[in-house]
Structure formats: C-alpha cells, structure tokens
Symmetry: C2
Subunit: 538 residues, 2 copies
C-alpha cells in the first residue's frame, strides 16, 4: 500500500501548466509503484487565486483540467480543485481513479484571518466525509481534510475525531499552508495530537513555491497510527515522498536552524517571483550596509551571480568604508558592480528647489532627495535593462517609517521586509558561517547602521531595544499597555506605537514583501491609514 505525496509547485492561473505538472508527477509516482498519489490544495489553479475565483472562465478551465487529469488516471489520486454548484464555489479535495472523477469532499473550515480570505470566495462544506478507496487490491476508508480543517481548535469542532467516528482508517489532509518561522513544529504538534485522539495515521500534503508575498514551504508530513513520523517532504523544494502505511519505518525529524529555514524561504521567494513573472535579472542598490548586503546574497543564491547587478550610489556624505564594503561584497558574490554617484542629480534638484526652499533649514526634504535620486537611478536601470529592483528595507525600519517612499523603498519585491533588524544580523552571521568565509564583509555587520544622508548620521534607534519591541507589537500582537506592564520604557513604547500608526501610508505603497513571520506588513495586516486610535494617550 504505497502512498506518494506529490509536493509540487504550481503557478497561480496557469491551468495548463499546472495540469501538465500534476500529470508528470503522477506518472513519476506510478512508475515508482505507488497505489495512491496525493497532491496539495487547489493545485490546479494555484493558491491563493484571490479574485481570479470570480472569473467563470478560470473555474471552467480548472474543471476541464480536472476532467483531463481524471481521464488519464489509473491508480487513485487526490487533488485540490474548485467545484461550482448552484452558483456557489467550494474548495474541494477530489478523488479520481480509473479514468474518472470518483468524489468531491468540500472544505469545511474556511480561514478568514491574516493572509487568508476564504469566506470571501468559498461556501463551506457541511460534513466530514469518508471515502472508500481501493489501494493495491485492498479497500481503505479515507477521511479527507483540506488545510484549515486540521486547525479546528478555534472552530469548536474536532473534524479528525468526526472522521474517525465515521469509520476513517486514515486521514489525508491536502494543504496550501504558507511558511512562517516555527510553522513546521506547530503542524507536527497538531498532527500528533490528532493521531493520539484518533489512533489512525495522518497524511499531510503541502504545497511548495512562492506566490506574491507568500512562501509555501512544502515539508509534507506523514504519521503512522502510533504517532511516529513516517514521511517528511523537503523544505522549499518540490519533492515526491513515498510511504507504506503497513510497513513504515519511523524517521528522525529533519530540523534546520531557524536562520537557515528563513534564508531558504527567502531564496525560494525571490526565485519564484522572478520565474513566475518572467524576470531573470535583479538590481540591488549596495550601500555597504547590512540590509543591502544580505539582500544581495539572497538574490545571488536565488538567481545566480550572473543575474544580479549591484550599484553603489555614493553621495558626498558616503563614508569611504561604505564604498569599500559595497565593493568588497560585490567581489565576494562575483556580481556585476558599478558606481553611479548621485552628487550631480542631487545638486541639480537642490538648485531647482533653491527658490522654493530659501530661508528654510536643511532637513528631511534634503535627505530624501538623495534617497529618491538613488531610487530613480535604480529604476532607470530597471526600465532600460529589464532588471527587477529588489528593495532592501527591513521590518523594523518599515515599522518606524525610517525609509523613504519613492526612494529606498523602490522595488518590485521587498526581500527582507519581514525580517527585524535583529534577524537581519542573525541571518547575515549565519550566511558567513555557512559559507565558511566573510561573504558579507565583517565591517558591514559590525559597524553602526547609518543612512548616511547627512554628516556623521547614525540611525536614531537602539536596534537592540527597538527591534524586539516592534516584533512584540506586530508579530506577537501585544498591546503597548502589556509591553509597559512587562517592563518596557513607556516613552519608547509610546513613540514606537505612534510611528507604526502614522507610517501606515508609507507601507501601503511599499513593494510586496516576502512573509516569514506570523504577522508581516502586507496582505495579512489591514490597518486603516486614517486611524486616530491612540492606545497610550499621555
């Protein structure tokens, strides 16, 4: 009774491509002697399709693709697709086999929080369902689930138990569960709980690949009825995982370090964004600082050194070490590198604005002219050579609004926008450890962070204090009041909360950023711009 988990990477909207991909992996499973092949949630359409689900033609084409897949089937396969009934759309796990569609299970729990909006599109199924499937000459009662059906604790139900009560001998959950740091252990704990509650095996097939801000990590799982891990898919790669429920060997859990996981997630995020939007080459502004250095490393590992262009754009305030560090980084990475000074456009802007700015003091306006000159140069290179600009801001800066809209925020993809400054340091150190060399110049890691937009400027934050507070407010969703109760400086907490609130307008216009935490700035966090809710008044 050989079961194959086909952990594949579809593209949203590319129905024909996805169908061919499914059939290719089905064929592989078949050749290896599988009795059942399992594919992830909504794999024919890609996930999340968002408003594409409102397009009738898409749903029709997905249905046709499903029929084609079913027609080509011999051994059973389970695949995620939509089903339209009476004008309502269901998110389904479809069992096919022997050239036919055998049955549809309709997802019951529709996540509608954070990055999920399933209530917007789908009608919920009513009943847990068990289907009898013939596997290698034996009948097996399979309880089907889709993704959120596993995460039932917030919905006052226990769907796994219901399936067991209905006679399920095994549960198969097909998922499109996006990565965030620590997610694998959450899933393992939850599945083991379900196994201990039901005493039957649990098989979990997850999507892999990135889609806009989301990175699906794969890491499919299978547990036997004793709660032993008997299958684990690779992280951030397509994978074909086989297991035999009757004669499985318990596996050791593969665990990579937190830094390695996040880094690999971001590499996949960049790779897939480029591949799936038809881009090949990237350009990164290199300041000699740690953010742009880490971003360039990720880009090189995602796209190849030959496809990454580094640009240093020094001003009169740029220190020698910044220029040296940028150059050293480019040499270490083996990427194309050029220096385009911004002094001349900055001076031209200042002269143009001279009359308007007379009798004013130099300040943020003048600083931002520099950031925007750099942003314009990167975009000019992008427009000319079809290089996609990667923006390099981190989450702590984005929270505090310490970034220039239409300047350093420019870019098609924000690679590290969900990494706190603390994590940027941790990942950069990990990069060098892993490489066994100073891939990122040590100086970029050790020097005090500075935007270098005026003489002797250093970032006006103690990141060791601010970065964890921002994380607590955004990712842990703690309130300012709680943080103060836990001992944080009230004035600082008040200042950070205020900055987060008043800078929403900047983030609303930010490039899409790759999500690696429980709460990223992006589609999963919807805070009004016009917002006068001030938790700490005085």
């Amino acid at each position: 009774m050989k079961i194959a988990l086909c952990q594949i990477n579809p593209t949203v909207g590319a129905i024909d491509y996805n169908k061919d991909l499914i059939l290719k992996w089905y064929e592989k499973a078949l050749k290896a002697g599988a009795d059942l092949a399992i594919f992830p949630e909504l794999v024919i359409i890609g996930y999340p399709p968002q408003d594409l689900l409102l397009r009738e033609k898409l749903l029709d084409e997905a249905e046709k693709a499903l029929q084609g897949i079913a027609k080509a089937s011999t051994i059973p396969l389970i695949v995620g697709n939509t089903l339209v009934e009476d004008g309502k759309i269901y998110n389904c796990s479809v069992v096919c086999g022997n050239g036919k569609i055998i049955s549809h299970y309709k997802k019951i729990l529709l996540p509608t929080y954070d990055v999920f909006d399933e209530d917007r599109y789908f009608t919920r199924g009513k009943n847990p369902e068990v289907f009898q499937i013939e596997l290698g000459g034996k009948n097996l009662n399979i309880g089907l689930q889709i993704c959120e059906d596993l995460w039932d604790k917030d919905y006052a139900c226990n769907l796994a138990k219901s399936l067991k009560e209905k006679g399920a001998e095994c549960i198969i959950n097909i998922s499109a569960s996006p990565y965030r740091s620590g997610r694998l252990l959450d899933r393992m704990d939850l599945i083991k709980t379900k196994v201990s509650q039901t005493g039957i095996p649990f098989i979990y097939c997850n999507l892999v690949g990135a889609q806009d801000e989301l990175i699906f990590d794969g890491q499919s799982l299978a547990y036997d009825s004793e709660g032993n891990l008997i299958g684990q898919g690779k992280a951030f790669e397509e994978d074909l995982i086989f297991m035999d429920l009757e004669k499985a060997n318990p596996l050791e859990t593969k665990v990579e370090s937190r830094e390695e996981k996040i880094y690999r997630a971001l590499v996949l995020g960049v790779k897939d964004y480029f591949r799936k939007t038809g881009h090949k080459e990237a350009v990164v502004g290199l300041s000699g600082g740690i953010d742009s250095s880490l971003t360039a490393c990720i880009a090189v590992d995602a796209l190849g050194a030959e496809n990454v262009h580094g640009v240093s754009m020094p001003s009169k305030y740029s220190s020698d070490h910044s220029k040296d560090d940028a150059k050293t980084l480019a040499e270490h990475l083996g990427i194309d590198y050029r220096v385009i000074p911004i002094e001349s456009p900055v001076q031209a802007f200042e002269q143009s604005l001279n009359e308007s700015f007379q009798h004013t003091n130099s300040g943020v306006a003048e600083e931002n002219i520099q950031a925007r000159a750099r942003g314009s140069i990167l975009m000019a290179l992008s427009n000319k050579f079809n290089w996609l600009v990667l923006s390099t801001g981190n989450k702590t800066e984005l929270a505090m609004g310490y970034c220039t809209l239409y300047g350093d925020m420019n870019g098609g993809l924000a690679v590290i926008s969900d990494l706190s400054k603390t994590d940027v340091y941790a990942l950069s150190r990990w990069v060098n450890e892993k490489a066994g060399s100073k891939r990122i110049p040590v100086n970029s890691i050790s020097k005090p962070p500075s935007a270098e937009l005026r003489p002797d400027q250093v970032d006006p934050f103690d990141y060791d204090v601010v970065s964890p507070l921002v994380t607590a407010l955004i990712e842990d969703e703690k309130s300012p009041t709680e943080l103060i109760a836990e001992g944080a400086d009230p004035e600082l907490v008040k200042d950070i909360s205020r900055r987060i609130r008043i800078n929403e307008y900047k983030r609303r216009q930010a490039a899409p950023g790759l999500r690696v935490t429980s709460k990223a700035f992006g589609i999963g966090r919807r805070v009004p711009i016009v917002n006068q809710f001030v938790e700490l008044n005085s």
Copy 2:
C-alpha cells in the same frame, strides 16, 4: 412620534471624539423635540475599523463610550457599536434610553466581498429581532437591521419579511454604506420593495464622511408604509433629518446629476482625508492636461484655494500651450503657482547613467527619468512644507499601466483614480458649466492628451474606445470573451486585458484612491501580481 436621523461623520479610532459627536447630535435632536434618535452603523468606532477590531483596548473603549452615551440618554437612541461575547465580536445596533442600555441586535448578514471583510472580524447574529420602544408615550415594535441585512437577496432569506412576521411595525436599518455612482437609486428601489413586501415603514440611517478609499454619502432615507419618501438626508454632508411616521408629508426625491454627485463625493474624500490625517495643504503637479486640472479644482473646493499649491515642471518636450494652460488654470483657481523646470536634474541623471546606457536607444527609461524627476520635486516640496501630494492619474491610465511608478504616481491620495478618462472629460465639462466660466481652460479639455515625454508624443490610445472597454472589464466585470461577443475588436480587448494583468504590480504600490464606482482599483479588488491566467490565448 418624531424621529431624528443623525447622519454624522465620525473618525475611525477616535472613540472620544465620536462619543462627543454622538452626544452633540443627540442633544440637537432632543432640543428639536425628537422622541427617538438614530445613528449609523459602528458609529462609535468609525467604519471600517479593519484590524483595529483585533485590539482589545479599542473594543473596551467603545464599550465604555457606549455606556457613557446610554447613561446620558433620556429619549431612546439607536446606535451602532461592537459587542464582545465569549470572545466573539458582533456588529450591533444598540438601543439605549432612560440612562441605560436596553438591548443589542446582532447583525446577521456580514458582507465579505469587494471592499467589505466583515466575516474576518464579526460573528453573525442568528435571529431577526423586534424590540418594543416607547416613543412619545406610545409603544412601537421596531424591527432592527444593520446595513447588509437589507441586501438579503443573495443570502436566500428575507429579513424584512421575518421582522414583519415577528410583529415589527417599522424597520430601522443603520448603515455604513459607501458611495458609488448610482447607489442612491439602488437603495431606494430595494427599500421600496421591502416596504411593498411588508407594508410597514422603513427608516435607513447612513454614515457620512470619507475613510481612506471609501466615501460614505449619507443620503439617509425614510419611507412610510405606502412607499412614499418621507425623509431624505443630504448627500456628502452631516445632516439631521426629522420625520413623523404618523403625519408625514411625502417628499420629492432630490436628484443631482451623475457628474455633480461624483464631483461632490471626491471633494468630501479629499476634505476628510486631510482633516482626519491632520493635513492642511496640498500640492499638485500641473501639466496643463485635463487630469491635473480636474484634480486641482477638486482640491480647491475641498481645501480652499489658499491651501492648494500648483507646480508646473516643464521639460524640453513641454509645449508652450501646456505651460500656458497650467498657468491659466492656477490663475482661474487663485492658487499659489510656481514653475520648476526639470531639465537640469534630468540632464544630471542622463549624464550619471551615460556609461551604463551607452549603445542603447532612448526609450521608456529616459521618459520615466522625467516623470520621476517631477515626482521627486513634488515630494521635496511635500517633505519641506508638509504639503500632501495629490496624484492625478485616472482609472483608464492605471488600468493600462500608462503611468510611472515613483513618478506621476507619487502622492498621498489619488483623487481621480476611479474615474475613467471619459468621466474625467464629463466632470471637467460639468465643472465649467457649474462655474459658468472656463474654470478649467478649454484648451486642456479640447487638446489631444499627451504625456509630453518625447517630441510630438500623444497618448497611444483612442480613449473613446479604450476607456469604455476598461470600464466594462473592471466595473461591469465582463469577460474579454463577452466583450468580443458584443462586437469589440478582439486584438484590442486582448491587448487591454493583458495590460491590466501585467500592470497589477504598479497598482499595488499606488496611492490609495477615492472610490466612486462599483469596482475601484484598491482594497475591493484583489488580484495576484503573479498571475498567469490569460483568458484570450491567441
């Protein structure tokens, strides 16, 4: 039995301010001899609060404000607020009176489509509810509804009928229904249908004021049991509307032209965005074209001429008429006007990029340098003087991607981004008719549109054809296949569809835009950037 509809303009998150506003209008109603005062949906918190609903403190403060309002009450009042029960949040219509909270009705139908996300936050109420309220010494059985409860046709229920069956003698619906062109007539038709089905009066109290992209139009309504209009609130203004169900006089429906409505909506949108984010002055880049001219007019009517700054930023490609038209417009509007040529920063950029660009042909990269120089100048003025930049792009351009990211797309608010090019012309003509003068220079209206980024350039679209097709695809949600079946040019439809799809990345970074149609680019339209769904393949 005098009933007061208090059509007021709260601010999201400003609980204390909103509470005071409610009490002030309650007092007005009381002084005028009202027996009942009615306020809109979620008026204590403001609508839509989005993720602020996940903040416990906000819900606590709203509850306290409600208690304060109840405590101050004598005659009954009905007010929208949240209710937290067993960790679940309900969207409620709360009846208060005689110093107490009397009852809560929980909203049943939670809109979760387009700009609405109520399933994300609220738990739905189970039952239609009728409450007996003493009004001027008489008891009246009132059936309560909240906004979407009226729009029940897509939910396989008839809540008005259920209320009637439960003994309601009158239905009171409190709403936060955003404006879109034609919405008043939709509401009137629907309410009249409900009145004819139930034979009881229907009172509809709507929110007024703008919040981010949404503009609530007020236009509260009341119908007697015969279906006669007996109360109508002003459009786009706070208003206190009185009616007596026992001795009402039928009113004539007030109808303004489509152009006037949309124009007034945009004026309120600009006004409230500035007021509620604490801005006072605006800056607009004036090209002499129709889009920036219309935007400047709206800004003047919203903020006052003394608070609007116009900047002409000519290049070597700018025609004399463009410069003249911009200046004439500024004179007509009586706004501050300055000319800041971009030639010098553009040349400086070109020199800086000279080495990188050698052996390439001049094209989009060079054109965008000009647009970005303009965008940077506007932002420098914004940073220096705290003027908010208004972006001037229209919906047709945004759809086609005929706009420069970090260039002419720069701005805190996109004033006319939900107006098709056709509507831009219609509103501009209306502006001049209304003013009885050439407020917008006739030349700006009559000349062929051009970005003037290269010699003799004109916009590469026939807007008379393209603008309605974009409207059909986006607002009417027609498919490309349907449009072709209706006789549109297949190649053109294919090209437009492709442009809409591949330019999603630009719109994702666009300024929030004021919504005046059934489907705007913005929070109500969620289309993936990575999107390979091509409806017309060849």
